[in-house]
């Protein structure tokens, strides 16, 4: 075996281990913090696409919707639903807008889950929980964080980020 190939494989193994560990940890944290009580039912208006909570805008390189073998390539205009796992490749990046106007930009090598999202467009009540498992995400908040700041959270395996109306970046694990 050539040293370079062997090294690549070793690093690959280490990377997978870390992912598995952080995934498990993220799950634990999510379980603890989950009961962020939804204050409003999603709108039932027939003209609202209730399953669709956001839309991909710019996509650079590889970006995917869904987990494992069920994942599909994210194209500009593609819809995302609550609980979707979104990810980017090592050279990938992508931007999406949620129903309330929140803009999420994913950096390279990112894995994140849209764990909770509820938004009643009439009352502007709802909640949002993003779990960042790996990589980096920029969050420019929209109506949800303005109206319900205490119900808008970004979690990583080691911390929870709450907002007071804003634009910020969260990175976790081997972000670079």
């Amino acid at each position: 075996m050539k040293p370079s190939l062997s090294r690549a494989r070793c690093l690959g193994a280490a990377w997978l281990l870390t992912c598995a560990a952080s995934g498990a940890l993220a799950q634990t944290v999510t379980d603890v913090a989950t009961p962020a009580t939804p204050t409003a039912a999603p709108t039932t208006a027939p003209s609202a696409n209730t399953a669709r909570i956001g839309t991909f805008k710019q996509v650079q390189g590889d970006a995917w919707i869904g987990a494992g073998t069920a994942r599909r390539a994210a194209q500009p205009g593609a819809g995302v639903a609550v609980v979707d796992r979104l990810s980017t490749g090592p050279q990938g990046a992508a931007t999406l807008t949620l129903k309330d106007g929140t803009v999420l930009t994913m950096g390279p090598g990112t894995v994140m889950d849209l764990s909770q999202f509820q938004f009643d467009a009439t009352t502007q009540q709802g909640n949002f929980l993003l779990d960042l498992l790996r990589g980096s995400v920029r969050v420019v908040t929209g109506l949800l964080a303005k109206v319900n700041p205490e119900l808008f959270k970004v979690q990583t395996p080691t911390s929870v980020v709450g907002v007071r109306g804003t634009d910020f970046i969260v990175e976790t694990q081997d972000a670079r």
Partner: protein, 204 residues
């Protein structure tokens, strides 16, 4: 044969793993950077875990959370953020465009001017990567809150139908009724005010 081959391989794997964990032990597990708001308004984020709570309230303030959970504070600069996160800064959607559509008095028919504006709205949305249209209907304060919620949604839906007829993808148009919550002209309840009967259109 197998043993002599496996040993150095395993040693290399061990060394690579040790190196990896050494690296990752030094780097913070999570890093949060507060950016300035486009509007210049003050903002903040609160970083918390079982070990404590830290507030970032100045642009370019940084919280670094270690694997053990301790939260340290640091600062960065606009240049350093640009270098570290070129995609996060570069890949932003253009600012949304806003339009206001007016209805003929006492109806859900758009004025001629507003009908002409529809073409511009659709062209704007089609020019964007993953462009979306959000139509928000508004009423004046005549009638009950519930009735105005319904009326404002009906108006928004009527506009949505026009846009679908003009060929825009239905799954990327949302109709929202905000009722009497956001008047452009403040009035007492039950006051008729035609300027408040409108649909606001957001293209993003």
């Amino acid at each position: 044969m197998t043993a002599t081959f496996a040993l150095p391989h395993r040693a290399r794997l061990g060394a690579a793993l040790a190196f990896f964990f050494l690296l990752s032990a030094c780097a913070p597990a999570t890093r949060i950077t507060l950016l300035p708001q486009a509007s210049g308004a003050p903002s903040a984020v609160v970083v918390s875990n079982s070990q404590g709570v830290q507030v970032l309230a100045q642009p370019y303030a940084v919280a670094e959370v270690s694997r053990s959970g301790s939260i340290g504070l640091a600062t960065t600069t606009a240049e350093a953020v640009r270098e570290r996160h070129p995609q996060l800064l570069g890949l932003q959607p253009p600012a949304p465009q806003r339009f206001v559509l007016q209805f003929e008095p006492g109806s859900s028919l758009l004025t001629a001017e507003s009908q002409a504006l529809l073409v511009e709205v659709i062209a704007g949305a089609q020019a964007r990567a993953g462009g979306e249209i959000v139509i928000t209907g508004h009423t004046d304060r005549q009638g009950s809150l519930d009735a105005n919620d319904s009326l404002s949604l009906e108006r928004a839906q009527a506009v949505r139908t026009l846009m679908i007829e003009r060929g825009f993808a239905p799954e990327r148009i949302d109709a929202v009724g905000r009722g009497e919550r956001e008047p452009v002209v403040a009035t007492e309840d039950e006051v008729v005010e035609p300027r408040n009967r409108r649909a606001e259109v957001l293209v993003r």
